[in-house]
């Protein structure tokens, strides 16, 4: 069953001529993990903002078409109601800290205070969410004293604690070092495994290949490709359109041109590449 349903979406930011999204149709099923890739300016962030209700409720501008999540239409809902269905986290962890709270525990409770959750339930939900994302030991720390990876996990937890039906993530690891990236992907993977619908805009294709069920390639506000990670991420259309692709894919493609890669599909991850090349060697 589709929990997210976009029909013929076109959106222009205020004071711009070119639409950021054009005639887009997108259905996402409940529990699906969808990754969105695309060069800068392709509309990844705008798509995330649209799903999370910030387009058009926060950014204004001109939105036509139907945006529907969990059976509710975006036009008929207020932003503060919408965010209880769709959670949004984005790039800069520092800017996602509310700044109104002195400890991580208080920070996580902020959204629940705003939406009027009773105190006992609030504490239980914060504790559960911290357990889930592995940040229980940070509860008493100041959110500003944490590392980037820790801050981003706090930001993710602060959204998860609100129990949204759909989690929208806009390049959550783009400012992370490798350790931070691994921590954050660990949390996202765990959420997806628990059956949450995840929509993730991300550049790091090797991570996407490992975890996502489906990949959508965006270009100029339109969907270029839509399919399984192994199909989309190895498509020759991607490099031709300025997408970053996995170094394992490009290595194998070169090897293929020289007749060294004889398997049908190209690899995206290290493991697939190693497997493909070692099979060649064995024959």
């Amino acid at each position: 069953m589709a929990i997210v349903n976009l029909q013929n979406i076109t959106y222009k930011y205020p004071l711009t001529d070119a639409p950021a999204l054009q005639n887009m149709d997108l259905q996402v099923n409940e529990g699906e993990f969808v990754a969105i890739i695309g060069p800068n300016g392709a509309g990844k962030s705008t798509l995330c903002y649209t799903l999370a209700g910030f387009v058009p409720h926060f950014f204004k501008g001109e939105l036509t078409g139907v945006v529907e999540v969990a059976g509710v239409e975006s036009h008929n809902s207020s932003l503060s109601e919408w965010v209880s269905n769709v959670g949004l986290a984005f790039q800069n962890p520092f800017n996602q800290i509310s700044g109104a709270k002195y400890t991580v525990f208080e920070e996580l409770a902020f959204g629940l205070e705003n939406t009027g959750v009773p105190r006992d339930e609030m504490k239980a939900r914060v504790e559960d969410a911290m357990q889930l994302t592995g940040i229980s030991d940070l509860a008493e720390r100041s959110p500003y004293s944490l590392s980037g990876g820790q801050q981003q996990r706090v930001a993710l937890t602060s959204i998860l604690v609100m129990q949204p039906k759909v989690l929208v993530l806009d390049e959550p690891t783009s400012q992370m070092d490798p350790i931070g990236t691994r921590e954050v992907f660990g949390v996202i993977h765990r959420m997806a495994e628990r059956g949450m619908t995840v929509i993730l805009a991300e550049h790091k294709v090797e991570w996407i290949a490992q975890f996502a069920d489906r990949v959508i390639a965006l270009k100029d506000g339109q969907i270029l490709l839509d399919g399984t990670p192994s199909k989309v991420l190895t498509s020759p259309i991607l490099p031709a359109n300025g997408f970053g692709i996995s170094r394992y894919t490009s290595a194998a493609r070169k090897a293929q041109a020289m007749g060294l890669w004889k398997k049908d599909g190209l690899p995206v991850t290290l493991d697939e590449a190693v497997e493909g090349f070692s099979n060649e060697g064995a024959e």
């Binding site: 999370a52 910030f54 926060f58 207020s78 932003l79 503060s80 109601e81 965010v83 209880s84 959670g87 949004l88 986290a89 984005f90 800069n92 520092f94 800017n95 996602q96 800290i97 509310s98 700044g99 109104a100 709270k101 002195y102 400890t103 525990f105 208080e106 409770a109 902020f110 959204g111 629940l112 205070e113 705003n114 939406t115 009027g116 959750v117 009773p118 105190r119 609030m122 504490k123 509860a139 008493e140 720390r141 100041s142 500003y144 004293s145 930001a155 602060s158 959204i159 609100m162």
Partner: protein, 266 residues
């Protein structure tokens, strides 16, 4: 309990966590107390009121609040020097009275100006001390949640608290920008005018960067239901006992009595 236990280096407020009767009072009660002390010391028709308040109310309260050491440190390092400066300025430059006690070059020090300056300094001491005591024993988020519960707009409370928190962060960012500009040859260490001129390239990145951040932060708190129309709840239960109500009314009454006496006696 998850109540604010923080290591010193992470502290961004004056607040000192202790278990004392003063800490257990409702924040609004403490605020009323502080404003009451300030108003009484400024409005009282008797000369010695601020001096007496300091001795019989503020110092004992710092002990009741178990923040005596922290209070005394602030008092000696900050409040007393500032008030002394004020005292000398007013004593020297207040052209009142004719009972000259001594002359210093062209300045006449009169008995009246001395008394006047002494009282004003004491009033300032009472004001700053009682606010210090308030900040030492009241957690800012507790104060804000309590005031929000009583009808203060949450946006207002948010601006106050986040400013307190974000200032040190902006300071750190300014340092980073200065370092970045200096590594590209910006002069920040020569004459004053030069340095003032070299501030301009710093303001751009700091201000525009902050504006971008403001938008992102707005999205972030919006994503957590900040503008939700539902009745907000609070993580902490903020005490508000009969004692609180009684104290508040007592202080309001004392202030009114002071005002009446002042009008009556003058």
């Amino acid at each position: 309990m998850y109540l604010i236990i923080q290591p010193m280096h992470e502290r961004l407020s004056f607040y000192v966590k202790r278990d004392s009767p003063l800490h257990h009072l409702n924040p609004l009660t403490k605020l009323t107390l502080v404003l009451g002390l300030v108003l009484i010391s400024f409005l009282s028709p008797w000369y010695w009121t601020p001096h007496i308040l300091l001795v019989i109310a503020i110092f004992p309260l710092s002990l009741v609040g178990r923040v005596g050491r922290e209070f005394l440190r602030t008092f000696l390092r900050l409040i007393l020097p500032a008030a002394s400066f004020l005292f000398f300025m007013q004593a020297f430059f207040q052209p009142i009275g004719d009972q000259v006690i001594f002359k210093l070059w062209f300045l006449d020090i009169t008995q009246e100006s001395l008394l006047f300056a002494f009282r004003n300094a004491m009033r300032i001491i009472v004001m700053v001390s009682s606010f210090t005591l308030f900040l030492l024993t009241t957690h800012p988020s507790e104060l804000m949640s309590d005031l929000t519960r009583r009808g203060l707009p949450p946006q207002f409370a948010y601006v106050i608290i986040s400013t307190l928190q974000i200032l040190p962060q902006m300071q750190a960012k300014a340092q980073t920008i200065i370092a970045a500009q200096r590594s590209r040859g910006l002069d920040t260490q020569s004459s004053f005018l030069r340095r003032a001129g070299s501030l301009f390239p710093l303001i751009g990145p700091l201000v525009f960067g902050s504006l971008v951040e403001v938008e992102e932060r707005a999205i972030a708190i919006e994503a957590r239901g900040f503008t939700s129309t539902r009745v907000k709840t609070s993580l902490y239960e903020i005490p508000d006992t009969n004692l609180d109500t009684a104290l508040r009314w007592t202080f309001i009454a004392l202030v009114i009595i002071t005002i009446v006496l002042k009008l009556w006696l003058s």
